[in-house]
Structure formats: C-alpha cells, structure tokens
Subunit: 365 residues, 4 copies
C-alpha cells in the first residue's frame, strides 16, 4: 500500500505542506499501552524548525491533536489518529517559480506521476513537513518500547564535514536526548563547530548533508524474518521513506567490503549466562533476525535540495532550459531534524516486528 | 508477509538447503508475457557454484521446473511456480558441529526464533541456496522488462580489494553479461587479479566481500511512491533479503554527506525533446519516484561467514564457550553469485512498481 | 491490516463514537479524478440520523472536512483524509449501565479483546457512527465510477416484513436515489407501510432488520481474481465490515441450493455484438471474475441490537447475571442508513479491483 | 495479493488442472507445531473424487509432497510447500469444444481477463482441482487448532433437496468425520436418499447443489477485528474463494431479517464461571469479534456448472451463438467434496486470526 506500511502494526501518513493538515494513523497496537502526550510534544519540539539560521524560518507550533484510539492516557487498541494543522503557509513564495523544476526535488517526478494534478504548493506531499505526523506516531512507539526495556537513540555521526565521537565512546550508558535547540551528539564539544559550519553554508546560499547513526538496545533475539521481512529490510524500507535519505548500512556496513571473514564475523561468547557476541560488526542482525545485541545502522542525509544559489533547470510548461532562483523558507541543513524522524520511525519498525512475534494480547502492564 | 513481497506482483520463496527443494511463486503478472526457459537456465548457470576455488564445491545442476502459470512460452496470468530440487546434499558435514554457533551466521538467531525446531542442515532456510528460486523468478522479470526497453545490469564494483572501472566508463553502451565462469566487470582486465585475490583468501581458509553496483535503464519517470513505497524503499527491501547484504546506497550515496546542495543537485536540462538531468548523483530517483534517468545503486556484500579458520564461539546446548572448525563446502567469496541475485530481484522490484502504475491489462505484445 | 483494506486502492478508518472525530483515509487513487464535495454531503445526509422515529435522536450535521489529497476539486493522487467531528455526544446516558453487557453488541467482545481499555462510550469504535467516514470515502468512489459508466444502487429489498418490488421491475432504467427522508425503494408505494412497521416496532421498544440488495452496472468483464481476490471475496469482505450484516449472497444466492445445473447456468448469447448472458443467476460473476453483466448481491441486516426492553445479561465486573434497561438514543431500524454504507463500500471495492487491473495512470479525463 | 491471503499466517495457491501440478505455500506458522502427514492424506482422501456416480470419474491418488518447512513431523517456522502432481489428465476431452463458452463456468471471464493466454485445459486455474492443495494446507491448520482445543466440523446441511438434521441435534458431542465414501451428515439416515437424489440428477445429465454448515468450537473470545478483519470478513473472504460458493450467512443469517431485536439478541449469562450467551443466533461473533461461543456459518454451493445436457452458448472465436455438449469427466454434485475444502479453509482463517492475536512465539507444546 502506498502510504501505509507495517505488518502487525501499521502506519498511514497523509497531508500536504500547504493543505489544511498533515497527519498519521497508527493501527494494530495492543490496548492498554501508555500514550504520553507531553513526550509527543517534546519529540515534535525537537523536529520543529527554529528559524535560527540552522533550520527554516517557517516556524510552526506543531500542536498534535489525537482524534482517536487513546483514552485516559492509554491506547484503546483501535487506530490512533494524529493531526497537525498547517498554520504558517506562504504559498505565494512559490508562485513565481512554479513551472521551474527545482533540481534535487520531486517537482519533475510529481508532474510525471500525477500528470499535473499534484499539490505543488510548498512541495505538497513531498515536503519534509509530512514527516511531522510520523514523528508523533513514532514517539508513541518509543515510549511503548521504553516500557519493554528497548531504547532507540539517533545521533548526528557526521555533518558539514565534522564527525561526532564514535558510538563506542558511549558504551556503558545510554545517551541522553539533547535539550531543545541542541544537537544529538555524543560529544557536545562538536556542536559549536558543526553549527558554525552549517550557518556558514547557509550564508553562502548553500546547504550541507550528513550521516545519522541509530542504535537500538534491548531488542530480544528472534524478531525479524529470514528474507523479505528481515530487520534490515524493515528498517531500510522505513528509512528510505524519509526524504533526503540516500543510503543505509548496518553494523560496519560498507567497510565490510574490505574485511575478511575472520575479521567480519562476530564471535559468540557467554556473558552473565547469556549468549552475546564479542564484537558487533553485523549491527545486531544475523540472517535478517535480531541477535540481541544493539541494532546499529547509519543513513546518509543528502544536503537540502532547496538552495538560494542560481541553478540551471527546465521550465516544465515551455519545455525550455531556464535558470532558477528559489524563494521560500528552507533549511540549510535538515540532518538534526531528520534525526528525530529516523529515530521514531525505527521505533515504529521495531514495535511492528515485536508485535508480529508476540501478538497483541497481554502487552499492557 | 514473511516470505512474500510485492504490491501488484508478488514473490513468495520457500525451501531449505538440505530439504527436498527450494522454490518460488511469482504472482500478479499480466497474461501473454514471454517466459524464456533457456534464459532462466542461463541465469541459473551464472548463479551456480562451480567448484573452481571461487565458489563452493557443492555443485548442482539447478534445473528449474515450472509447475504452473506458463503455457506455450507465455504467462497465463496465474501464479508461476519454480521448483529446484536439492540433489547434492551432505548433511553429515554439519552433524559434528551442529551445536556450535557459527559466527556471522544465523545459527543463533534461528535457535532464538524457531525454538530449536529449525532445519539447521546446511543453513536450512538461511542458506544462500534459497536465492536460487528467486533468480529463476527474477529472470522472468528481466525478460519482461527487456521487451519494454528496460534493462538491469549488475557488476562487481569492488571485490577482494580490487575496483572495477567506474560505471561512467560504460556510458553509451549497455554492458554485456559475462560468459559462464567469468565475472561481471566493466573492465575485463580486473578479472584475473580479482580471482587471484579471492583464491588466495580461500587458500588461507578465509573469505572476502565486495560491493555490487546495479544500473537500471529505460524506467519511465513516474513509477514509485512518495513515502513507503518509494523506488528506494522497494529496492532496499529486496536487497536486504539477500543474505550478506549489509548496506545499500543510491546515486552518490554516502558520498553525498560531504557535498553541498549546489554540488548534489542534478540540474534539469532539455535533451532531444526530453527532460533529463545533466548529472545523476541522485541515482535516478527524486522524492522516491523514478525520474527517467538510470537508477543506480550499490550494495555491500560482507565476506562469506563460513571460513575454515578456528573461531571462538558458544555451544548452544551446553551454553559454554567453545572453538569451532567448520567443515562443509563453502564459497570463499559470494560476490559474483550474489550479483545475479541482486540483478534479478531488482528486475522483480521494478516490474512490481510498473504494474502498480500501469495495471495488468494489455501488457502483452 | 486491521482497519485498512484494499489492494490498489486502500481505505483506512478510525474513530470512536464519543471521541473527538471519526474519519477515513482513502489512498491509491489516480490523480485528476473528480471530488465533488456537494455529492459527499448528499451521501452524508442520506446516512444521517433524522430523529423522526425511524432513526436515532442523536442528530448531527456530519460535516466532512477533507484534510488532504484534494486540490481544485480533483484528486492529487495522494491520500485523501476525511474527518467528521463528533458533536452531539451524551456519554452520561451510558454511565449507569456501563458494566452490563448489551446483548447483540460488542461490549463483551471488546472487553475480551481490549482487556478493559476500550473506549466504551457510545459503542466506541464499534458504533455504526464509524461508518460515516467510509460513506464519505465511498461517495468519492461512486462519482469516479460514474464517470467511467459504472453505477451502484442499493435498495431495501425487505424490511420489517415488507418486500420491495423485485430488481427485475427496474429493468431498462437505473433507479433514482431517494429524496432525503425517504427510503431507497423500487416501488415507492412500499415506503409508507414499511415506515409504519418500523415505527410500530420502535414504539414497542423493539427493533427490526431487513435485506439490502445492491446492483452494480457497467463493470467491464475481467476484473477480480480467480481465488482469494474474487469479486465476491472483495465485496463480502467489505460488506461484513458493516455492523449488523450477518449474511451475503450473489445472484440467486441461497436459492441456488435447490436448482439444478441446467437451471442455474446462465446461457451465453450475442447481443448487439457483445457476449452477454441470457439470465443472471450468478450475479455477474463467474469464477470470481466479473462477466460484464450487472453484479447483484444481497445482505441481511440484523435488527438493531439496542432495544429499550429489559434484557437478561451479565454484569462484567461482578460476573453476575443481571437485567439491563438501555438508555441512550438508538435506531429502531438501521436498514435504510446501512443502504448508503453498503453502496459506497461496494463502490470502493469495485474501484479497487478496477485499479488493480488498469493501474493509476491516465484514468483522468 | 491475488493468490495469497492472510495476515499473520498466509496461504498462496497455484496450479492448473492439466498442468504439471497444483500446490500451496503456507507461511507464518510458529515453529514446533505438529504436521501429521497421515491426517493430510485422510483429508485428501475425503476431497478426492471416487468415480462412483457421485463425483467425477477423474480419479487421482492426490499424493501430497511436502517440499519445505517440515522436519521430523513438526513445523520449522518457515514456509511449508505442498505439491500434488496432476496425473490423470485427458485434455483431449476439451479440445473440440474449446471455443464454446461453458455456461456457469469461467471460460468467458478467463478470456476477458487473460486475453486468450489462459490455460483453458480442464478449467485451468479455475478448476476445483486447485482446491486440493489448500485442503492439504488447511489440514495442517486443523491439527494445530485441535491441539489448542479448537475444532472445525462441516456437514452437508442440505443437498439435492434433502435436509440433514439441524446442528442443535449434535449438542453435547462433537460430530465425527465420516468414513471414506460417506457423507458428513449429522443424521446418517439422510445419506442414502441424498446419494440417490444426486445419482438421479447425474443420470439425467444434470447436477445439484446444496448448503454446507460449519461449526467451530473452542475459539477464545477476543480474536478478530472490529471492521475489515472481522471474523466474518475473514471467513467469508476465504469461503468465496471456493469455486461454486455464492452465499454465506453467520448464525441465523438471512432469517434475522424477519426477527425483532428482542428475538435476535443473544442474552449473556454466567455458566460455570464463564460468560456465555444463552442462545447463539449471532453465530459466535459480536462486532466482528469471536465471543467464545461456537462460530457457525452456512454457505450455498451452486449446482455443478458442467452438465451433459445441451446448452445454448456462444462460440468465442466466431462470436456466434452455438449449442454446447460437454464431454470430460464431471461431478453431478460437488457439495460433499466442497465440505472438506470449506472446513480446512475455515481452520486456516481461524489460525490466522489467532496468530495475529497471540503471535508466533511459544505456540509449541
């Protein structure tokens, strides 16, 4: 299904950037699970643009209204619907350049696919804004997982040419979420230079990309399926639904190409009565199935397609070459905001796989 | 669904390495499309092990029997079932070490998931052998796409530390498939050193990995969906169902992290009356939807988990640390064989997305 | 998926009777198809309760807000979201009897399934009110089908012991929809006695059921699938999602049990250059696939479960036998309102099957 | 998906009547569940034609080969594949009349759908023979349910104008399956007249239909979903995939149309500490969800379409009216054979819903 994904738990997303609202329907949860609206608001706050030179000047409160499926702070077991109204829309910014295809964007593919009937205002259904509702839905999943001892954390592994500290530096304690306005970094000292580099690119009318790294701890061995519904297939399917993600790798990922088997295999060993692996180069997944070690994956976020520099392009209507100068309000870097989306979608994916295995009965406390 | 994937066209796979057979059911094709059993046999031949020091000594004829859905060389429109009998099985090789978890393999996760009831012989359902049937199914898809002017080609971009020529070197002509026993390389001169490096690793009881690159030309702009069923989500979902794939990237992939937007955006331009992009750093996909340029993606294949060196591990039954020496017949490198699997699954994925868009009526010639 | 159905076009429903809203997401439509909000309002008006002794005194305006997927009166090709706010809720009516399981209702099964976390107010997710949003979605489908020459009509074949005229009496012209406040009947003379019989039952604190008959004309031969996605399976799956439907039959249905093959087979014959059947005892479906004749099916609607008479039941909390007197506002008969739901869901089902076959490209005018 | 159905457990069917084989893939089962090949053979034997004037003279051994997913008499947790070779095919019988559309059959719809590429021999994919493999798959499900205390039984409620005893007559003990060659009847005295009536119709070159009734006991309250995946939707979807089924009703079904609410509601009462209903007019389902009472449904089986009498029809190629005299070997009545198919598919459906709710972990003994 086109805008619905999941096996036992499903997520449906809808909305356009400049339409009345964006939203999501989260279905298939067990009844009696906690829904913490304050936590959802915190997640929305982290995804939200701040107009601070790091993200777009389109600042909206992103208040989430829950239309169904929640009563007295718990899931009822029926579909949960999240709606976020669009308030601060300035479609006029787009009018003048509407026929000029923005490079790196979906303008041309939207024309090709929707034959001219797409809602092109502000990127329409292709806007990163659509991810707001999936963050609300995924925030519910994060909290449910947390009660089961499963935690998801995503940090900015690299951005604007600056690396965060490696994940190994966090061993022994689970990283804390950043305060609003701050970046999710293992080494807080990297924040100032990273922000400076982003602002510098923005001031040049340009944009930067980066790499996100997600770690999920506490996942019981045995979830996921050997082939099409592997943990990796499920998480990759979801990750590529985030606009701007162009690659994903698990464990040591592309670096495995240059290792030998004797280096890439994670030896098993007993630790405190449990079977664990001594290393985790396979990122917590063997044969598509979680092995109980932290699930680790990295995605690449391409630099924001909307830049203020002049770009060569085509006028779709006249079918002639043209030069485009973008107006509108855009992020010089979406890596920090995408981190929240990636983390919440990963939580959704893991909860889906858990529910396939354990069913919906008796999940409540 | 666990072993079934696809929206309009679906693929179901089944089988165990040492059971009676492996197979696949391909459903949802239009009626009247060509099914070329000779071409299927060629594809099987390319995936087949050869016992030549480059792949496992378990050599089987891999004859594909079609049980349904084909009549007079054409699809009937009903499910096509492919069965490949297992003939050369030597389960005895595994008996002695059955309780010792092979590092990098699914032994432990299979125990965790199937609670001891898995068919562990030869890797059971986790064996690369299961991919044989999906090659047969995907070969049918390749031929159907070819009639529509869509071609898929996968080469070994890197293996055992040796790079093939870049894709750009093939511009202007579509690469030819290699002869049996040869590698899919854009620069044939790379074959001898690559094979030598693989054999060297094998002689040391070790294994190597590599990187596959797939290019799909002729895909019409407009297929794929904005979010969950993006071209990237579909192809990644399928790629991660190939054992040993641990990462995938589209276009310039992870390298996009260090580009600026002005470098990463592909400018549109008119060429012979068509809208094209001057570069293809986004790998033929914008906003999840094909833009008509070649779809390009790369996957990393980890080094074969089965190696002959001693490895530290755990005895699952006694729950004690142990040392494992693997017997059995294994590939020092599966990159060349995986290339066929990746190519055929990609063809399946594209045909699925095409069928979502164009339906099943009137596809025949 | 639990609250999502469809292959190429999908429908997701959500909401609770006394929650903030009920709604639906309709996804998978081609772009450029007409969306007529006035027609949707007409359909909502027909499903709406009127407080006239024939339906519940809970009268609400049922204004449909479209949150996404529509621009300038046409589909954009992305998900269409319909939301209908709940305004006239009086949960207090239910408080006193909340632990007493209402016979014929889902109170007990909701307890069993949701472990006490269900939203029980006004029937929650089990209320017939949830169907309001599917009517909005199905109304869009009806209009799209109409442009393709496909029409759906549902009349009350029998209600409160009174039969409408047989479908054959309408041959030659497609029946008209009734005016608001009137019943969908082929013979208008049956309306007065039918309404009188319903009111009589209601005045006795009781309720009545009936039979709906739907006819769909203009469906091209060839849609539907031989087995699991037969026209009959799809329409039955949808029909049983309407609360109170307990049976469905196609063509001559249960009466076929007593016919011989020579009587039940519909002979083919040429008519105006087209292959048709001389009779239509199979209801327009052979082997699961539409044969081009009108698709005809009938469903039975059980009498409304909510009645004002005293009923024996169980107190769920004390687990003791008890006697229930229902308050609240309920319909003595929902057959007339269910007719709209059935017709719109049938339109959705047919549009789904059409889209599987013809795809989404080029459906627009 | 076209030939695949199910949420947590899925069934894929394939094959043509005169192709190499028919078969099925059953996926999603927990590991460690029993697979009793003798029981499967018994079920196949019951579905099998006997050439005794009651069923077709095409008698085949129907040996089921299991290609995957079973080891040492237990499920491994991976897909189970069943293959039944076609042995006794006489396609020549069909050659002469191949262009004459058989009334009541799928010949015309197959032409319309598959554009002439269908395998028309012996009905191809539309033959009742395709159900053989789903019987094998469903027999596995029956046995798994039996270990959980859930039993499915289907009897011939009516055939050739003769009624079996009502289900109520079996209260207190679960009916026994009939011996091979006998009918599933609650009152064995009805067998002789029923068989005689069938033979009489067959001798006149005609055929008869009937009604099947299925009862499923031991289903725990709480399985099924409120709307699209209701118990009724799931079982109806499956029932209509059986060729010749044209109607289904739950509990008192169509008779509910003429009851009042006070008669149709099943009062709850305590019995031995459990909540039960005093009557079961709703057939064990309230609001789409099982209430713990026996699930009861009835389907109508139309008379076999293949009859030996002359029938008016159309020549598909010349597009002219014609007269058809059918050769081939056909059943004068398929009700008794369909009973096995219905029972096994119902078992599959219930197991699917159970697995959605309870997951796959820890189902084994």
């Amino acid at each position: 299904m086109k805008n619905t994904f999941g096996s036992a738990v499903s997520l449906t997303i809808f909305g356009e950037s400049h339409g009345p609202a964006v939203g999501a329907v989260l279905d298939g949860l067990a009844a009696g699970l906690p829904v913490d609206e304050e936590y959802i608001a915190l997640r929305m706050e982290r995804r939200r643009a701040r107009g601070d030179g790091l993200s777009t000047a389109r600042v909206e409160p992103d208040r989430v209204e829950i239309l169904s499926g929640v009563l007295n702070g718990h899931t009822t077991g029926t579909p949960i619907t999240f709606v976020i109204r669009n308030t601060n829309t300035r479609s006029g910014d787009y009018a003048k350049t509407a026929d000029l295809l923005r490079p790196g964007h979906a303008d041309f593919t939207a024309y090709a696919k929707y034959e001219g009937f797409q809602d092109a205002r502000g990127g329409g259904h292709f806007s990163g804004r659509i991810t707001a509702a999936s963050v609300a839905a995924g925030a519910v999943c994060e909290k449910i997982l947390e009660e089961k001892g499963i935690r998801c954390y995503t940090h900015i592994a690299r951005c604007a040419g600056i690396d965060d500290a490696p994940l190994s530096s966090a061993a022994g304690q689970f990283p804390q979420d950043p305060e609003p306005g701050h970046f999710a970094l293992l080494d807080p000292a990297k924040e100032a230079p990273m922000m400076a580099a982003i602002r510098a690119a923005g001031e040049q009318g340009d944009s930067v990309g980066g790499i996100l790294e997600t770690v999920i701890t506490g996942v019981p061995a045995g979830i996921g399926e050997p082939f099409f519904d592997s943990v990796e297939s499920e998480l990759a399917h979801l990750a590529f639904s985030i606009p701007a993600v162009k690659g994903i790798e698990f464990g040591h990922g592309f670096a495995l190409a240059d290792l030998r088997g004797s280096q890439a295999n994670d030896p098993f060993t007993m630790r405190e009565g449990r079977i664990v692996t001594a290393t985790n180069k396979n990122g917590g997944v063997n044969g598509g199935i979680a092995n109980g070690m932290p699930i680790v994956f990295r995605t690449v976020i391409k630099p924001t397609a909307s830049i203020y520099r002049e770009q060569n392009t085509v006028d779709y209507v006249s079918k002639k070459d043209a030069v485009l100068s973008i107006k509108g309000r855009h992020d010089p870097c979406i890596v920090a905001r995408a981190a929240v989306v990636q983390n919440t979608l990963a939580a959704f994916g893991i909860l889906d796989l858990l529910t396939v295995r354990y069913g919906t009965l008796g999940q409540k406390k």
